[in-house]
Symmetry: C2
Subunit: 503 residues, 2 copies
């Protein structure tokens, strides 16, 4: 078998099938979260376990090792183009990583995901952590086991992080987060202590769910999320799943606060357009996936915040909101509304947090999951520690677990070491924005509601680059610099000093 034949077999027979299998897994997961009958949990758990082990089998087939050897030993390997070399590298990484995890563990984890998520949903509904704890214990135990197989010499958090941010570590996160905290805290203080506080009654007005659904479609289209290749559904916790021509987002509607779902949709549509605009010629190749969870968050939070919470956006959209909601907002003026939309206020719920305090929610989760995984804290202590950290970092009192430790679904799904990517996303996107404004008149375009050039910039620089580079290199290629929180801090300072009128 020559180099090219080996490459084609590797991609056509193993990578391609692995990706198709993983897409089926995501469809089953989406269905589980959206429309599956409540008592279908156990059956679904069997199905997910089956798909996960099939994926694992595909990825760990010893033939992959042989093909990789054939390819890399061939003298012509070095003359392969970059895309092919990248595909080979990514395949080798995945093969090596996945081969460390026993199939039985993969099966157990996949089986436990719907069961733990179901327990989480019930616990959240009843605000009763004890209903979730046994399932969480098991998920944590299985996750630690996985971390141990991946790298017994690393802290579990660090062994797991590669899946979300290749090359990251808890040490680097700590460093970035320290810098972030240092920049955020003075801004938070100035905002919170400002004598003029926003008037939230400008936002929190009843908008019927059918109207909110129309808003969802309208803004999804506005940011070029393709509804012919996507959908918007409702789930307890908003998320995005899918790939290329079938990318689905979800939201959660609250009649009393349209902005909740409004920003969920913008956020998830930001994820959605990333997946929809991955380079089509790389479809079913590892190079054709997104760069990392942090890059994904950079796109979702770019749309949600840098666009959706800007004054310019509302200059364009407020008249439209008024038109679409009857007379609900007819008395509302631009500046007070933008002020309310951008209220900085330490709060309990991450996904409803403002741009400034948001990262503190992530830092809390980062510290907790690192310590949970290392065994420094137990699930028994979890609610107490959660609440104490919310008091310490954000100054808020958590009154029940539903608005505390039960608010996010990630741990139920086995996603540990994932949360930090959210904060990394903030850092990336402000850094990208600083570059984007050199290329196109960002604010002027938004004012006119002409988002096409902005989305095109993201497609060109991020989406269609797909997984050609690891995140550290990708951010450097896009912005000319290594990852740095300073742009994000600068962005916040500039924006909020204007809104809150401090200097």
């Amino acid at each position: 078998m020559d180099l090219h034949e080996a490459y084609d077999t590797l991609l056509g027979e193993f990578v391609r099938e692995y990706i198709v299998l993983s897409q089926i897994y995501y469809i089953l997961g989406w269905d589980f979260e959206t429309y599956m009958p409540p008592k279908g949990v156990k059956q679904r758990s069997e199905e997910l376990a089956m798909m996960a082990t099939l994926e694992h089998d595909r990825l760990t087939n010893p033939k992959i090792g042989e093909l990789l050897k054939t390819i890399k030993n061939d003298p012509k390997y070095f003359s392969l183009d970059e895309e092919k070399k990248r595909n080979i590298e990514l395949t080798e990484r995945k093969y090596k990583r996945e081969s460390k995890i026993p199939k039985e563990l993969v099966e157990k984890l996949a089986k436990h995901y719907p069961i733990a998520t179901d327990a989480w949903k019930k616990a959240k509904k009843e605000s009763n952590y004890s209903l979730f704890k046994p399932a969480l214990d098991k998920m944590l135990e299985l996750t630690k086991e996985k971390a141990h197989y991946l790298d017994p010499n690393k802290e579990p958090f660090d062994a797991l992080v590669d899946k979300y941010e290749p090359g990251m570590s808890s040490a680097q996160y700590t460093k970035l987060f320290d810098e972030l905290k240092e920049g955020l805290i003075p801004i938070i203080k100035k905002c919170v202590n400002s004598p003029n506080q926003p008037n939230l009654s400008l936002i929190k007005r009843k908008v019927s769910i059918p109207i909110q659904k129309q808003l969802s479609e309208d803004i999804a289209k506005l940011v070029h999320y393709d509804l012919e290749r996507g959908r918007i559904d409702e789930t307890e916790h908003p998320f995005t799943t899918g790939y290329y021509d079938d990318v689905r987002i979800t939201t959660h509607y609250y009649e009393e606060d349209f902005s909740d779902s409004f920003y969920s949709v913008l956020h998830e549509a930001g994820h959605g357009i990333y997946e929809q605009n991955l380079e089509h010629k790389y479809k079913y190749q590892l190079v054709g996936e997104s760069a990392s969870y942090g890059f994904h968050e950079s796109q979702s939070r770019f749309i949600e915040n840098l666009i959706g919470r800007s004054r310019e956006f509302w200059e364009f959209y407020l008249p439209r909101l008024k038109e679409m909601t009857g007379n609900v907002f007819s008395d509302v003026e631009l500046d007070p509304f933008v002020y309310a939309i951008n209220e900085v206020k330490p709060s309990k719920i991450r996904i409803a947090a403002d741009e400034v305090t948001y990262s503190l929610h992530i830092i809390i989760r980062f510290e907790i999951e690192r310590d949970l995984l290392s065994g420094k804290i137990t699930t028994e202590q979890l609610p107490e520690i959660w609440n104490a950290k919310y008091k310490e970092y954000l100054g808020v009192d958590i009154e029940n677990d539903s608005e505390g430790v039960l608010q996010d679904s990630h741990w139920a799904g086995g996603s540990f070491s994932y949360f930090p990517s959210y904060a990394i996303g903030n850092i990336y996107n402000a850094q990208m924005l600083a570059k984007m404004v050199e290329d196109i008149p960002f604010k002027e375009l938004i004012k006119k509601g002409e988002l096409k050039s902005i989305i095109d910039w993201l497609i060109k620089n991020v989406h269609s680059v797909s997984n050609l580079y690891d995140p550290p290199e990708l951010i450097k290629r896009i912005t000319g610099e290594e990852i740095s929180p300073k742009y994000f801090i600068n962005y916040l300072e500039e924006k909020f000093s204007k809104i809150y009128g401090f200097s």
Copy 2:
């Protein structure tokens, strides 16, 4: 490896996994028909093909042959209980059958299903057969190829029929259908020629879709379809899919005629309760599947017609319908309404056909698909022949393909040799009813809306028996007799002579 070990491996490793895979296939199919974004067709086609080939791989693994040999050569084989022997027999049949079909063909068929179905939907919408013809040609060609692999010595129709009605043949169908026609035609004539015709304006009144959805839930619950283990969605063509704890039905709402969806829901719920009440101890075994498509239809049409179109049902349900629909039906009286619900009138659309003419729709399809498969007629001639047969058998003029040859989705999905099962279902269910009335006061129970004993009878005699017996034996065990159309003819004569007032 001893007998029991071989049996456990066979069931645990191969049959179980095959069934889980096939359930995943059905979920993907359901999603394709309900919520998949329109441009996801090609991606879904890859996913379905992947699942179909995985199923095929599982079922045709040569180890199955070895395990079967080990089991059957063991002298203790004969002392195995009947359930185990049946599982072995069913596995052997499936293994032998599936092994004849090349994997490539399985893949092609699965890939073509969503593409052909998509083409069919568009063609139906535009009532333009030529949009569907190329996809149908390809599906027909692949199906003929499959039939040839299954048995080159049989007519293609007969090679395929085992999947739907084990042991049936076109010769037997012809015989049964001749008997059926002979009984039906005089009844149809008497009804059609009756001077008193029903007043359809008693039914065809506008009922809003949200109210119709409430009706759907109400009647689904009434017939004990478990919505905790099921759902009701909307599709172009109603269907049921799923297994045990996740069984899904669909319907299609028309504002101007509530009865359309009403009977679709009763029909599909009849399928649904069959799947939900399969014997739980047989789950993930071949003996734990339904007996045949004909038996499935016997259950759906039992609920739809024998219960849902009876005078006794409306004695109970008409007041409820009135209550749930405001004053839409407030002036309606029982007998004229039952008369209208049971109008016998040769018509164009199978799923809207009355109980008497329904079987003629099936006979037309049976003749056509038999001839299409044998090459006696071409897809070029199809609309013309379809329309000619509708004129000949039912006396109706088909004005466009949407209400003609494009009305059903089956051929787009590759389901050839399936239609006759619908008529067989009518024969089975009337035969079962004749037996049921010996055991329980069928009519009195319906009058009171107390369906539990009726459903329990079906669970005991059909659902929970699952796939322990082939259809010919099952019908004999239930009724003491071989399949016979006479009960169905008697049932129709008795019912319609009363309604139409002839003798």
